[in-house]
Symmetry: D2
Subunit: 473 residues, 4 copies
């Protein structure tokens, strides 16, 4: 049923200059804007003078945080929040974040976007020393190590920096101690994390769209390998722990994950996608009556394609906002077995036309195949599919849900074979070269594009697959 790659998580944190701020509501707003990064579970923890209160559960932000639930959270000086899809760890309630724990130095709260590639061995080692785990999430592994390191050091930030020596992989973290808020991005900076200010308050978020909704101004991104601490006096300090490692930001954040109204590592996501459309128009031109994007992910690139090619942009599909998570797909009826889609074609726009159809990427290919069929039934004469990224050919170990190569339509197929499978009249992917050219607009200099190349910025253990990981427990 899922046809789109899923991002794993979004995180949000706020540190208020004054006491008794409604930090929970700000976090609620931020999570609402980051919901696309994780629809499975969510949570908010508030730190009110060292006392931590929290609520987390399975469900969308709007389900989990009813007015009543939100009002149960106190005011305070700090809060962090999290939205989540499962990557490692199952989808059970106990894996919802924030992780709130009590250890020798008091309370600690951790939220995490990313995925460790050495979580299994770290967990084993901790267990050999008596650790017990309440969840299957690698975030609990991180929390354990921070707690352990905190016993050997004098501050939470030192503990966090020590921890970075042990953990490998993708992690954008917010760590809230009794009095400080620490923001961390792994040395590659796989996942985004930005910082803004609203008045004297500091705000951290996975994407800048979450700053917008709380009225904060984007200051800058947390840099790969950077540790930022807001201390008990509201003073900010920064530590560079990249330690000669190279950047490796996930280029797929620009391609699909992030919201178009976000500015990520200095580049507008909408702009990136529009550029992708423009390059695609140059790289793979075609004669057509109009260009259309698959809502919502292909719209920005479709506009770029149209601008570059001068072929008019038009709307091929209307998206129903009412066909959502609770929509009932037929199981009882013999005649209406096909999955009902959110998209309905505008017949008289489509009928008799040659169409350039743009999407951001193809993962499994199921939906795009169906959409092309629907366009043909609506009378489309030709359908030329253009994809605003290269062919997706390998799994991701750094915080998304592509764990099995077999599910990928592009594996072992030529472009022509994919085209036939999908039923398009022509098919072109954006070249890797062009993708990399566009990415030069970012502050980041090196990217992880392993899903397109099979090559990752850091070495991945051979045996690492989601399935095997699960079985260890």
């Amino acid at each position: 049923m899922y046809n789109k790659l899923k991002e794993e998580c979004g995180i949000f944190g706020i540190y208020a200059k004054e006491k008794n701020e409604n930090v929970a509501y700000y976090t609620y707003l931020g999570l609402s804007s980051l919901q696309h990064r994780g629809e499975e579970s969510c949570g908010i923890a508030v730190n009110d003078g060292g006392m931590v209160s929290y609520h987390k559960d399975v469900g969308l932000v709007s389900d989990v945080f009813t007015q009543a639930n939100l009002e149960k959270l106190p005011t305070g000086k700090m809060a962090v929040g999290h939205v989540r899809y499962s990557t490692t760890g199952s989808s059970k309630k106990e894996n919802a974040q924030p992780i709130v724990l009590r250890y020798a130095k008091g309370n600690m709260v951790v939220v995490h976007n990313g995925n460790l590639i050495n979580a299994v061995e770290l967990r084993k080692e901790l267990q050999q020393n008596g650790a017990i785990f309440n969840s299957t999430s690698d975030t609990e592994v991180i929390a354990y190590i921070i707690a352990r390191e905190r016993l050997k050091t004098n501050s939470i930030e030192e503990a966090v920096m020590n921890t970075m020596k042990y953990i490998k992989g993708a992690y954008s973290l917010l760590v809230m101690s009794s009095r400080k808020l620490v923001a961390v991005r792994d040395p590659q900076g796989f996942r985004p994390l930005c910082m803004g200010k609203v008045g004297d308050n500091f705000v951290f978020a996975s994407e800048s769209c979450a700053l917008d909704i709380v009225g904060a101004k984007l200051d800058r991104d947390v840099k790969p390998g950077e540790v930022i601490v807001i201390d008990e006096n509201g003073e900010m300090k920064s530590y560079d722990c990249q330690d000669n490692q190279k950047d490796g930001f996930c280029i797929f954040e620009y391609v699909y994950f992030s919201r178009p109204d976000s500015i990520v590592d200095g580049m507008s996501v909408h702009k990136f996608r529009e550029e992708a459309g423009k390059y695609l128009a140059k790289q793979a031109p075609v004669e057509a009556d109009f260009v259309a994007g698959v809502p919502d992910s292909g719209i920005d690139a479709a506009l770029g394609y149209s601008k570059e090619s001068k072929i008019p942009y038009d709307i091929a599909f209307v998206k129903s906002k009412y066909i959502g998570r609770t929509f009932i797909q037929a199981t009882q009826d013999k005649r209406k077995k096909q999955v009902v889609l959110k998209l309905n074609p505008i017949k008289n726009t489509v009928s008799g036309k040659k169409i350039v159809l743009i999407d951001d990427s193809i993962v499994r290919g199921t939906t795009i195949t169906r959409l092309i069929k629907i366009l043909r039934e609506a009378g489309a004469k030709e359908i030329h599919l253009r994809i605003a990224s290269p062919a997706f050919i390998d799994v991701c170990y750094f915080g998304t849900d592509v764990a099995k190569k077999e599910a990928l339509i592009a594996i072992g197929k030529t472009n022509e074979e994919i085209r036939q499978a999908i039923g398009a009249d022509s098919l072109e992917y954006l070249s890797l070269e062009n993708l990399r050219k566009i990415a030069k607009g970012s502050n980041i200099k090196n990217f992880c594009d392993g899903c397109f190349t099979g090559k990752y910025p850091i070495e991945v253990p051979k045996e690492l697959e989601k399935e095997s990981f699960e079985k260890i427990f």
Copy 2:
């Protein structure tokens, strides 16, 4: 909070050739596609060999029809469904439709889209003869009269045709008797109603997008004043009861109410709006960097404006699909008091640009004022507002929720005064003349454009206002 005019209702019905069809699920699908026509309450009634089962409640289709609730409805030969906003009658549960009743001839089920203008006097007259009413809805008045007329005639269709002599105003109806399904459109045809077929099954719906989702092919629209009967043998008969009255289809259905993927009275709604944008470009040209539409209602016209003017189309706002009905607006916090909107600007698209911003209409003007302010904060240099319909200057008596003139921003203001109130650099409405030109593409020949002109196709009782209506009970 509501800034958009609300349509009152959507209706759907199906008559299956075979017994034991899953007519409830088809109706569920249809209502999902008509949800934009009424988000307040909904219901489905199934006729299984003369036995009627139904479920209706306050809420969206996806709330009211959980899997469990939907499965409680039996299979059958016929079903009708309804989605609703309140126009007359309060929003209480007892006004949800379908109206299911028992009378001398057995069961009858009625669903109604529209509003009678002589409901009060009809109700009084019925009450003087001993009638009691369970709801404040004018649909119950219609049902009473059909029941009364049925006692004097030999068939449900004759009863319905007799009823048309008494009731005045807007009504697209589906009437389900024990064995027949009757579709009716008032002589003016104020509200849409179309007919399609899927296999040998007949489907009726307020808009053709609801035919699409069940896989039905649009056959034609029920004509103003037409009564269509599908009898116990699945045979269709049509009766013309327009009786020398003139068409008066609501032009605002094209402007805003209907979904762009619907074809209403022979004209594509998307096409209508695109044309409105084109005419607007000719009528009110302006120099600008790009054209953008207010999502979702201004998008189609913005494309038209762009095509005609050759000014590029772009996206100014991203719409959050997660900020919905249950979103919690701050009440507790001193610093974040402003209503959070679903729309966030794409800053680097907007910044430093001259923008033509298109919306379909302005009713109260609150949201557009806020959006213009947001664009300016995002750095827009000039904002030229173009509205794809004339100024909204009078109330509607025929099935929408504009009941008080005072709420309308255009009342008693010059164009310049409205512009200043809204904060745009320039403002133009589509002229009535141009709107009428576009409407020539429809099968309908005369329209109700009373909201723009104050002149209605049939005479409206002077004292008729929603408020006074309510007070009678």
Copy 3:
């Protein structure tokens, strides 16, 4: 699954001297005390200066009236409430009461405990004159006739009195007009209805336990055939409409339906049952170690049996308060198929003992058979079953749910055959003669004991059965 006869309904009403009283909360309290009379649906209607607000739904009072729902009801001068099991009419939501309607003279609200025996013919007659029905409940028939009669008369009380000439059967009614509250009991007084006062406020309720909970003092019972009106000035008037008909109060109200802490028609229900136990001890003595009652319905009579026989009273069963409506009975498991009961024996009380076990009545016999088996498994030596009423041998047409003779264990069986079927060592029913002797303590002089005798106080149409009734619609 149901082994006990179910009462059909309970009603409650309050008229406050002052405006703006929290009449909804008083009604909520009253309905909580009458819940045993109807667990299926409930509702409250408040009259606030002629404006009626109401809420009703399927479910227990505590489910339907959450704090939020209750607080939505306004304060006012009058309110009526209802709890319901279905007798005629299905269990659907539309049959929940109060029935709130608008007619020529304004609003009217009706709540009804009882069952008409001529509802079908009345309904047909009304339908022939154009009436339409929203429910299958006979209460809507009553409401129609009151509305019709009100058009011919000068007051609601006259309309009610006229209505009594048409309707036949059991009805304890509360009718709330814009300004008056009318309480009515049918000429036989089949169902109870009492009146109390708290301060200057009048309270009506099916049982006096509902007066207790609102702090009202029991004044007296509404008499069979009496109409009591509280008018717009808070003055009470009484009209005798018994019209030479004989009393026919349901003796089973004393045997089982009413709560032991209620005083009904001048007699304590607890006392009645204790007396039944005493008579039973004299009528059917037996040697035993102790007397126990089946909780909760047999406890009062067991105490009486013990007092009279001098055999000690003890507890044989503990009743779990947590095994309720939502308890999950096994469906999946091969080894634990038997229905789990709320009752668990106290083994070391029971083991090796001769027991007199008392219950109020036997309807189908399923549960008592199971309980006797459980006692034997717990080591009981002898079990002598004594029933504090005569054998139940005929259906009820006056407001309870016994509609089919076939379900009754006593039909066509000798006492010995019943004993064997149930598995008791001996079995005795209280004689009809003794039952009648006890009832002499009541203010009522004649009773309906048709369930024990097959003879009813008024003639019952031959063809009248619940099933046939349903099929007419």
Copy 4:
């Protein structure tokens, strides 16, 4: 609002000889019977071939385990379940049990009834070694130590036995490893724990009433200091770890906590209470018309008093089963401010009578004061209160919720002062001497009666109070 002492927890476990048994449903049944021991949260964990699935949440068993939730749990060989009130640890969701964890040796599940008195120091010590805690419950402390000890030993049972050397206080535990089920009772045996068999399956439960409901036969109690293991072959082994310590079973289990149909440590709870009533009759005789118990806790002793004194037993109060957790107490109304009670007097039983009223104990005294007032209003002439246990004068450290002396009505008051405060005509408590005589019927030889004496079977740290405990975190 709460006037009764609350037990802290109930536990249940089952080990099935065969695979794929519906152990979750058995556990559901057991928890339903133990619900009185903890109404706050509950949970069930199933072990299916080493894989653990569980569900736990805040709420009653019937709320948390809907049909859907229960069916999500798989079949398996073992399951444990828990019902809970908070004693240490707040009432938050994260303190719900079972505690399910992963450690070096795989999975472990723990359920716990009791309270450690050295949890704080154990927790500190564990934290100094790097432990992090997800809850404030002392059960997590126990789990940590078992996990730690398991690394040093060869089996789960050895680990558990080692753990017993560290933990002090009350603990009845069930520990489920991948292949074994271990039952433990602390050396004093503060809390009950019994063992039964149904077929070849072993069942453990806090009380024997939970064996009854699953059809299991009570075998025997787990002895104070005993460890019982059911190994991977379904073989049972027992280890005595009482280690010369003395029994110290909570005598209040007999007085109030346990259900009357349970047999606890060889003695019927009903019998114990009846005996208490008999001794009370001898110790504190009075002339009266009848004896009544406060439902439900005083009923058994009232019967005993009646038997011994020959004063007839009668019912003074009817208890409403519908006034439960969701009952809405008035907050809005000026006239009906008093808390509505579940108990309503039977007026004509009470009026003009001298009554011996029996309750099991008095903690705060609020409810009994109100009940005596209600009886007087109902006309009672004299009310002689007899309490079936000694005066409650000190707090409990071993698993109940009495943490503050100030709340206890008997603190610093003479018997006469208490009588006056409560408003009874006379008041007598059962003497400690008599209570101890009755307890001789149990298999246990020494008891904890610290709540009556201030002396506890093991030394309690001076500083230990619930409040201070909470503040440490």
